[in-house]
Every structure is written in structure tokens, then in C-alpha cells.
Amino acid sequence: MTDLDLVARNLWRKPLRTILLIISILVAFLIFTILIGFNFAYERSLDESSRANRLVVNNKINFTESLPYAYFNRIARAPGVTDATHASWFGAFYQDQRTSRFVGFAVDPESYLRVYAEQILMPEEQKQAFIRERTGVIVGRDLAEKYGWRIGDTIPISSNIFSQRDGSRAWDMKVVGIFSGARPSDSTTALYFQYAYYNETITFGRDQIGSVSLLTTGPEANDATARAIDAQFANSSAETATVDEKTFSRSFLQQAGDINFIITLVVSAAFAAILMIVGNTMVTAIRERTNEIGVLKTIGFSSPRVLRMVLGESVLLSLIGAGAGVVLGGLALKALESQAPFGALDLEPVVVAMAFAIAVLLGLLTGLIPAVSALRMSIIEALSRR
């Protein structure tokens, strides 16, 4: 019988207690995997949905304020800018605005498809149709599936901001393309239609655009380009704020709340609870075996060997619980994927590695007190204690 067998048998001497401990540990790692995994996916989606050399120009007052259309051409000609496009928020919905609101922008088709080429994937002939067709609209695959829209359909899209000059609030748009995102799992629930169509039918806000997106010659040119653009419009009727896309998305998402702070707090609480439970149970479990440890020492087990066995037991317990928790957490993330506002919720290898490291640490920590007391114990003392 090897030491490992002995450790395993010790672990299962009271199966119910061990199973309960494993459940406690499992829950802590399940919470860890889901929350940290979610956070990683969120960070990754920020990275992937933004290109390092793509900047966004908004009105300096706030991104809900518009910019004059004339700015677009001036920005496109600014030093360091290789390409530019613009987009205007439409407040789009289909039939009932309580249940069917989605992201909808009026854009300049040709330049938008260039600047966001990696995010809007569709066949070349659909791209050409979008550029050609004045009332054309391209819709994300998920959105098209949800409402059963097909290419060639004419659909009424309403706005909660604008109305047409004839008083109607629905725009008839012809589906000319259905696009998918950069990754197959990316959620595609947006639609884009022609700015020209939008601009000539709205009753107010004409010749205004929501924002300008542009590509620079490279990330190293970002700062200089942003400064040059903002300086160009300083003291004009609409001053601009130019930032890289990732910074913009992050500050937008942070409006909801300090996500990192909440996740840290909750994960710490879960681990603190589990540390208390497992640590105390391990102490009791080892104390029950004081006599046995005395016997082991009598028949020649060295103190360090006993120490290793006790620590081995607590680390093994921790790893079993953590492994199960991470596996369950990975499954839970997959199940939550359709609810998440951003792409795939894969279990990142780095999350698994972090969980492993924490599990080993938890095992060592919970085993430490009983292990040290087992180490210190003299044989006489151990054998006489009841």
C-alpha cells in the first residue's frame, strides 16, 4: 500500500462528510468559474469587437448629441486617417417597442462595410445590393431568424425618436442582406440602413450624424490623430471627443456599474465561507485520528511523511471539488451563452489554471493547522490522547 492509497482511504473513511465538503468546495469554484469566466469573456469581447486603430468621434457634450454632417468629410481628410464612416442611432423597433427593440443605425453603406469589414460578413452581391438600394436594409442573422425575415422582404421598421414627414413612424425597408459576425457564435441582432433614405425622410435632425468611426495608419498614430481632430473643431458649434473604440465601449459598459468590484466582492465572500467550513472540518477530522497518527509514527513513519500525507489529503479533497466545480461552471457558461450580450462564453484556459492554483492553495491552507499539529505531536502524547 503506497502513501497515496493511505491518503485516499483516509479521505473516504467518512464518505458523507467528504461528499459534503466536496459540495462546499464545488459551489465556491462554480461561482468562481462563472463570474471570472464571464469577466474574461467580457474583456475578450471588448478586444475583439474593437480594432486597435479604429477611433470613434462623438460630440464632446455627450455621445447622444449629434454632429453636423459636414464634419464627416473634414474628419476623413484629417492627418493619419486612412478611412472613415458615420452612423446615426435610430431607436429602431419592430411592431411593439416594448418587446422588440434592437440596435439600428443609419449608415453610409460603402464606407461602413469597409471600416467594419471584420464585423459584418456577407456575400459580395449582398454588399453591392446594400450600396445600390436606397431603401435597402441589412439585418443580423439572429434578428432575421427571430422574425423570419428573408432577402427580398419589405419590413416596416419604426423609430422611438423620429417620425416621417407624412406623420407615419414606420419606414418600409427592403431586406437586401443578412450578415453574420466575426465569430460564428457572435450575436448579430443589429440592423443597418442607408443614411440617404433616413436623412431625406426625417422631420428634424437633418444633415446631422451621430458619430464618425475612422481608421488610422496604425495604433501608434491614434493619439496624434485624435488630438488633431479635436483641435480642428475646438470652439466650433459642436466640439468633438475622439477616443479609441475600446475605451469608448468600456466606458459605455461601465455606466451600468462597477462590474469588476462586484465580482471581486462576491468571489471573496464565497471563498471565505468555504475556507471556514473546510478548514474546520479538516481540523476535526485529523484530531479524530490522533491515535492513528501515533501508531503510524510508532511503526516508523517519519514526521515529514505524516505531514505530507495530511496535506495530501486536504489538497486532494480541494482538487476533486474544484475540478467538479470548474466542469460544472464551464457547462453553466455554455448554457448562459445565449443570454450574454457578447459572443461566446468559452472557458478560457487561464481561468482553469487560476482555479487549479487556488485549489492547491486552499488545500494547503486548510490542511496546514492539522498537519502541523500532527507533526509536532510526540508518539506518547498521540497514543494517550483520547
Binding site: L20, N62, E65, F204, Q255, F261, I277
Partner: protein, 396 residues
Amino acid sequence: MAAILRQTGAVIAMNVRSIPQRLWMSIATMVAIALVVAVLLGFLALANGFRQTLAGSGSDDVAVVLRKGSNSELNSVMVRDQIRLLGAAPGIALGADGKQIISSELFVIVDGVKRSTGSKANMPLRGLGAPGLTVRRQARIREGRMFSPGTNEIVVGAGLLREFSGFELGKTIRFGTSTWRVVGVFEAPGTVFESELWADAAVVQSLFNRGVSYQTVRVQLTGPDAMPAFLDFVARDPRLQGLEATSESGYYQAQSERSGFLIRFIGWPLGVMMAIGALAGALNTMYSSVSSRSAEIATLRIIGFSGFSAFMGTMAESLVLSALGALLGVAIVAIFFNGMSASTLGAGFTQVAFRVELGPQILLQAVIVALLIGFIGGVFPGWRAARQKPLAALSA
């Protein structure tokens, strides 16, 4: 019957008094339950505070008029002719000057910096006239003074000031090309108005290129009973077909109902998961309590105590531990989080500052979860205590 009660009482007292013998295990269980309660209660109190702020914002005798379908003040646009027509509606209260109290307002979004994250956030800047203050009786100036009509002066809500930087009293702010000075701080406790900036409507119109348009209208009615007639008038008048009126309390109530996301998708699932972990800990503690007292229980059974009393003793011990844990959890939230200021993006697409708020209903929910852990954690070990064979236990 009386004998059973007496027996049970004696065993319960014995059990509870023996808790210190298993001090560390009992404390571990208590702390675990306390953390479950604290996490769950934290989320519930966060959501509760937000909901209370929205629910407390509206008055029953003020009507909000928006462009039909706009759903929020930001998306709404109205012209002066439409507003003039509203004056013909029944039930509008008269001000001290004898004029109808109709407040035409603008609602624009400007950038502020959130103190907790340092990132940009949406602040509502409301353009108001004199009636704007009459329809908001909760508001009063706390420091400085009100803005003077026709000037680039601004007053800031106390909630906004707490959560966001850049709007301190006396500061000069630039929105685009216009420069504004903060001349006062107002408070309107427990309402969303505290998260707003207020300035003169005419100045906002000209500096934000809004021409002569407004975005929303608030109408002070003679009383809550005048509301149905007013809403009916707006709904029926053919010249007002582009508009839509609601009571202000109903308007914010509807927004508060859409705010359950935090609890439904994070608070409860997390609370339940942690409760399962704590339950495993509680069961372990109670099983070891039963096994460490097996000789004691056996002795009691032999001298005539019932199995039921052994069960109840274990159950009571478990419930006491979970009740203490619940108490500790509530104390953690009450001391460290209750009243804490927080902010999030509200339905109006602007930040709403609110305070974390405990309430009787959510306290009850959290305590029930804790006692449920205690109950389940006591049933199975209690069952083992009641069923254990006395002689076998003594000879072991």
C-alpha cells in the same frame, strides 16, 4: 404530552449549551450562513434602493406629457403649439400668479465622470422654467442659490454630486462651446431628480441649438382625482394625437418595474448556489455534533427520553446557529452597505444615483433562506440522533 414537552425542552437546552464545546465548527457554520445572507441581502438591498428611488419620484397629481411612442424624455420632442393646446385640458392647477402650472422642459445628456470608476457617464441636464420648481415640491436648495432665469447658471442635485465629479459648487463647466457656472446644490431626497442638473430652459434651448422646441411637459393638476379627466382629454383631442400623457407616479413606477434584472439574474441564483455550499457545511457540523454526543444521547434514551426529544435537540441547535448566522449577515449589510451611495444607468438612459436600502420584505427573504439552511441542516442529523441504537452507541 407535558412530559414530551419537558423532555424536549431539557434536551434543547442541553444541546444549545453544548455549542461552545464545538466552538470553531459552530462559528464556521455561522459565518458561512452569514456570508450567504450578506451576499443575497446585498443584491436585494441594491435593487430595493434603486426601485424605491424610482417609485418615490413621481407625484399622483402631476401629469407627464411626451411625444407618443417616445417612451422616455430623451427621445421626446414637442413644439410650442402642442403645449399651448394642453392649456385647454381640465383640472390644471393655478399658481400664485394666477397662471396654469405647466412646466415645459428640455432633457439633454451631458458627460460627467463617475467617481468610483473614473469613466464617463451620462448626466441629465434639465432645462426648466419657474413652474418646474412648483411641480417638484420635494426639491429645495441646500447650498448656494437657484439659477437666475436667462443666465448660464446651473444647480446640481445632491445625489449626482455624491456619485460624479466635475459639478462641485462654484465650478465653471463647459458643454461644447457654452460655459456654465454651478451656483447651487439642491436636494430632493429619495427621488431621481437628485441625479439631475437643472438650468434655465430658454438658455438650454439656445445653447444646445434646440430652437423653440421642448421635450416634455409636466402639468400640475388640482389633485390626484383630476388625473383621469386630464389623461382622457389628451387621449381624445384630435389635435393632440401626437402626444401621450401619464401620471408622473405611473411613469416612474413603470420604469422601476423594468429594473428587476439585477436580482433575477444575479442575486438569487448566486444566493441559492452559496446556500447549497453553506448547507453542506451546516450538515457536517450537525452530524459531528450528533456523533460527539452519541454517548450522551444514548444515556438519555436509556433513562426514558424519547427519540423525538433527541431529534428536536439537534434541530434546535441547527436553527440557533443559522439564526445567529442570519443576524451576523444582516449586521454586516446594515453596518457596511446600508445607505451606501451607488449609481447605475436608468431607463431614461442617464445615471440614477440611489442609496442601498434594507427593507422589511427583503430582510424577511434573507432570514428565511438562512433558517431554511438551518432546518435542512438539522433534519437529517436529527433523524440520525433519534434513530441511533442506545446500547450500540454506548458500547462503542
